[in-house]
């Protein structure tokens, strides 16, 4: 990139208020952005990426303040410019696209009115603004571009809203757009459309952009250069291809390494399945969420149930555990039908199948110490007490790689996210089950932590001969850990079989769409997929 410098940030410090004290969020960030250039900003939760994006507009959220450094946009010193002057830049020369379009559009006004708001303030005629809006909607490949703008936000789907918001940001042909995780809340098959639309329009208008995300593969498609943040500081910055080919910092390398974990293929078992879901139809009220769902879970293996939101994958777990009695079909354990309602199952049966949840924060009672959290199942099911119970809890803590003496009397609030998820695993293990249902157990965690959890689950499976049912939307996780795969869409099983078969062509059409929509760490991936689809 050789264009003139558009945005120059030097030694930026931002602080956030915590009670009476101010804690640093950004600590000395430098950033240079040229005209027409796209800079990807990567970081885990809490790295300060959104704060950096907002600071590039001279903006700090309530409870935050820019405490030091220099922000120059096209020669204008944003730290010295009064609020009125910054307002004249925002929306006109610097625009912002938020993570959740559904929450960021005002529910009281039509999309096109919200689009036209800033153009009208700059003196454009309403008719012209609306015509331009329709043209942009068409460019963003929104369905019914003439008509969609006259809807209210709640009448439009999430992926379309995200594109409408990008169109709104484009309204005044800004020099710079800040994209703050614009596709994080979307399913993969929707994400790819939005990514393509955003990339094309940024290129066509030759707009500079800061693209904030936690997803390396996504940023590889969008950015010319990548900057990596960790706890408010820069780790490294490089050209996208250089960064992908030869990351320098250890932290960057560890981010790349996540994707490398995969376990070896294992031959398919011959004995009867441990758990068998047969023709299950279930739902709430009058609506069927599951329609005739069948699959097996063999002992000692990992079955991944994959699908996008609304596919019914979590509902399957509720049927198996007995929280949602099915309308039709049955669930067999060792060939014997399980009582449909968990309340009708004796403890010996409840013990067989344990659950690990997505959000460890809500899965662990915050008022109980680890001793009681992990000890309770052992106490209930195995009748342990006193010294035997204490010893068992310590064994379990050691098994999940936490030092028993320093952890046994802690509360969940004294643990990190990954450690909490480990406690969830230990609690499941305490019952000595044969099947563990893992419901999106890694999706709320940062990538490095995910890796650790997956390795731990794999180790436990080899040592204890557990079967896992792994519910996930993330195909990378499936590739890493599954033996067998069940693909679900709209409450039905699309395809099921050993991992090697599912991941090798020929695929069912939906599986094909799903697989091809997962971003890869190759900068040419998006272009390639779009070409192939046409």
């Amino acid at each position: 990139m050789t264009g003139e410098v558009l945005l120059q940030i030097k030694d930026l410090h931002v602080e956030g208020r915590a009670g009476d004290a101010w804690l640093p969020i950004l600590r000395g960030i430098d950033l240079t952005l040229h005209r027409g250039e796209v800079l990807g900003v990567i970081g885990e939760s809490g790295a300060g990426k959104s704060t950096l994006g907002l600071a590039a507009m001279g903006f700090a959220r309530d409870g935050c303040r820019i405490s030091g450094g220099d922000i120059r946009f096209d020669g204008i010193d944003l730290r010295q410019t009064p609020e009125r002057g910054k307002r004249a830049l925002r929306g006109r020369r610097i625009a912002y696209v938020a993570q959740s379009a559904a929450a960021s559009f005002n529910p009281a006004h039509k999309l096109i009115d919200q689009y036209s708001e800033v153009p009208l303030l700059t003196g454009m005629a309403r008719r012209t603004a609306q015509a331009e809006a329709v043209a942009l909607y068409r460019k963003m490949q929104l369905p019914n571009p003439e008509e969609i703008g006259f809807r209210y936000p709640h009448q439009v789907s999430g992926g379309q809203l995200q594109r409408a918001m990008t169109a709104m940001a484009m309204a005044c042909h800004p020099d710079l757009i800040i994209f703050d995780e614009p596709t994080t809340a979307l399913d993969v098959t929707t994400q790819i459309e939005v990514l393509a639309a955003i990339r094309d329009i940024v290129r066509d208008y030759d707009t500079a952009a800061i693209y904030i995300t936690h997803d390396l593969a996504v940023v590889a498609q969008m950015a010319d250069r990548i900057k990596i943040l960790l706890r408010g500081q820069e780790v490294e910055e490089a050209d996208t291809r250089t960064m992908l080919a030869a990351p320098k910092a250890d932290y960057t390398k560890s981010l790349w390494a996540v994707r490398s974990f995969a376990r070896p293929e294992r031959p398919a078992p011959k004995e009867a399945p441990l758990l068998s879901v047969q023709g299950v139809t279930a739902g709430y009220g009058k609506i069927d969420i599951l329609k005739d769902v069948s699959f097996d879970i063999p002992a000692g293996r990992t079955v991944a149930v994959v699908g996008e939101s609304g596919s019914g994958k979590s509902t399957v777990a509720r049927v198996i555990t007995g929280l949602l009695p099915p309308r039709g079909g049955q669930v067999l354990l060792d060939g014997v039908p399980l009582p449909q309602d968990y309340r009708a199952r004796p403890r010996a049966l409840l013990r067989q199948c344990q659950m690990i949840y997505q959000m460890a924060d809500t899965a662990l009672n915050p008022k109980l110490r680890l001793r009681d959290l992990i000890g309770r199942p052992a106490q209930m099911y195995l009748g342990l007490s006193g010294r035997a119970l204490d010893a068992r809890v310590r064994d379990l803590l050691a098994l999940i790689e936490l030092e028993p003496d320093s952890y046994i009397d802690r509360l969940p609030s004294e643990l990190s996210g990954g450690q909490k998820q480990r406690i969830g695993i230990a609690r499941a293990l305490a019952a000595e089950p044969r099947l563990i249902i893992c419901d999106e157990v890694t999706s709320a965690l940062d990538q490095i932590v995910q890796e650790g959890i997956l390795r731990l689950l794999d180790k436990l499976q080899r040592e204890l001969g557990l079967a896992y049912m792994f519910i996930t939307h993330d195909l990378a996780t499936v590739r890493a850990i599954a033996d067998d795969v069940v693909v679900m869409q709209h409450g039905k099983v699309v395809e099921a079989g050993p991992k090697a078969e599912i991941f090798a062509p020929p695929h069912a059409p939906y599986t094909e769409l799903l697989l091809s929509s997962v971003p890869e760490m190759n900068p040419d991936w998006l272009t390639g997929v779009l070409q192939r689809r046409q």
Partner: protein, 317 residues
């Protein structure tokens, strides 16, 4: 529009059911007595004859559903029965007083609603400023004061020095100005108490609203603060503000009872307190029904109004 109409009709139907249940509860509360109302009212010294006479007079010899039916049909036609203490028709006793109480409540509402909304919105916009802190501490204190304390402080400061009358004497042919002057202190008392509640709720509602992502988006679009408030916050603030107003007007109903007693104001509240002391159950039931109906209707209209101002509900596809 169709869906909203159905929704509003549902709300109205629910309101009617609620009114019915409320009237049953108010009427049926006497059935909770372990013995029988007549003997309880007359006490242990009563002879069997007088008890029997009172029973007949109260209609206690008839089954409860029949008595309820007679009472309810009477009420709908404006006939509340006869007072046990004075033997006068209750409707006559209420007529004047109902008007007086409504006048006082409206007077207080007219002062309190604009004052509270302005203070609440300013406190929310200038959050954590000196103004906000002082307004908050003041409101918190005012909420904590019993109504009669506020009333007597006002009497002590304003009436004792002769600015305003501490006892309210109303006559039917009074001019509006005189009436407003005569009832200023009770209205002010109610205003102070209600304003505090309403201000706090308004402030909370606005702060909640200003924290939403679409307000941040509006700020990032470079809009002026005034435009953000008028165009982006206000249309969404109507529903919460309507609810706050309704809740506090309903609160006036309770406040009016004590305030009327302090200022010897000839309204329903004072009559109710007198009747409770005399255990004139017929009058208490009538007034309780009026207050409860007002309360139910207020909540109902708030419900309907906030439905009408909610864009998500109004423009369903």
């Amino acid at each position: 529009m169709h869906a909203v109409l159905v929704m509003i009709l549902q709300r109205l139907a629910l309101g009617v059911v609620t009114l019915f249940v409320v009237s049953v509860v108010i009427f049926g509360a006497t059935e909770l007595l372990p013995g029988d109302l007549a003997s309880t009212l007359l006490g242990q010294s009563a002879t069997p004859e007088t008890v029997a006479a009172l029973r007949t007079q109260l209609g206690l010899d008839q089954p409860a559903p029949l008595r309820y039916w007679a009472w309810a049909t009477g009420v709908v036609q404006g006939d509340f029965g006869v007072s046990l203490a004075t033997r006068r028709p209750i409707a006559d006793m209420l007529a004047m007083r109902l008007g007086n109480t409504v006048f006082l409540a409206l007077y207080a509402a007219a002062l309190a609603v604009p004052l509270a909304l302005i203070l609440g919105i300013l406190a929310a916009l200038w959050r954590n400023s000196i103004f906000d802190r002082v307004a908050n501490a003041g409101a918190l204190s005012a909420i904590s004061f019993p109504e009669f304390f506020v009333a007597y402080i006002l009497i002590f400061i304003l009436a004792q020095s002769g600015f305003f009358p501490s006892m309210v004497r109303l006559s039917p042919d009074m001019a509006l100005g005189d009436k407003l002057y005569a009832t200023f202190l009770p209205a002010l008392t109610l205003t102070l108490v209600v304003t505090a509640h309403m201000m706090r709720m308004t402030r909370a509602a606005i702060i909640n609203l200003m924290a939403s992502p679409y307000i941040e988006m509006a700020r990032l679009k470079g809009l002026s603060p005034l435009r953000i408030v008028l165009r982006h916050a206000l249309p969404n603030a109507l529903a919460p503000i309507i609810n706050v107003i309704a809740l506090n007007l309903a609160y006036l109903i309770t406040g009016v009872v004590v305030v009327e007693v302090v200022f010897v104001y000839p309204g329903l509240g004072q009559l109710m307190v007198d009747s409770v002391a005399k255990r004139d159950i017929a009058v208490v039931q009538a007034i309780a029904l009026i207050f409860a109906s007002a309360y139910v209707l207020l909540n109902l209209s708030a419900d309907v109004l906030s439905t009408l101002t909610n864009p998500r509900l109004m423009r369903r596809t």
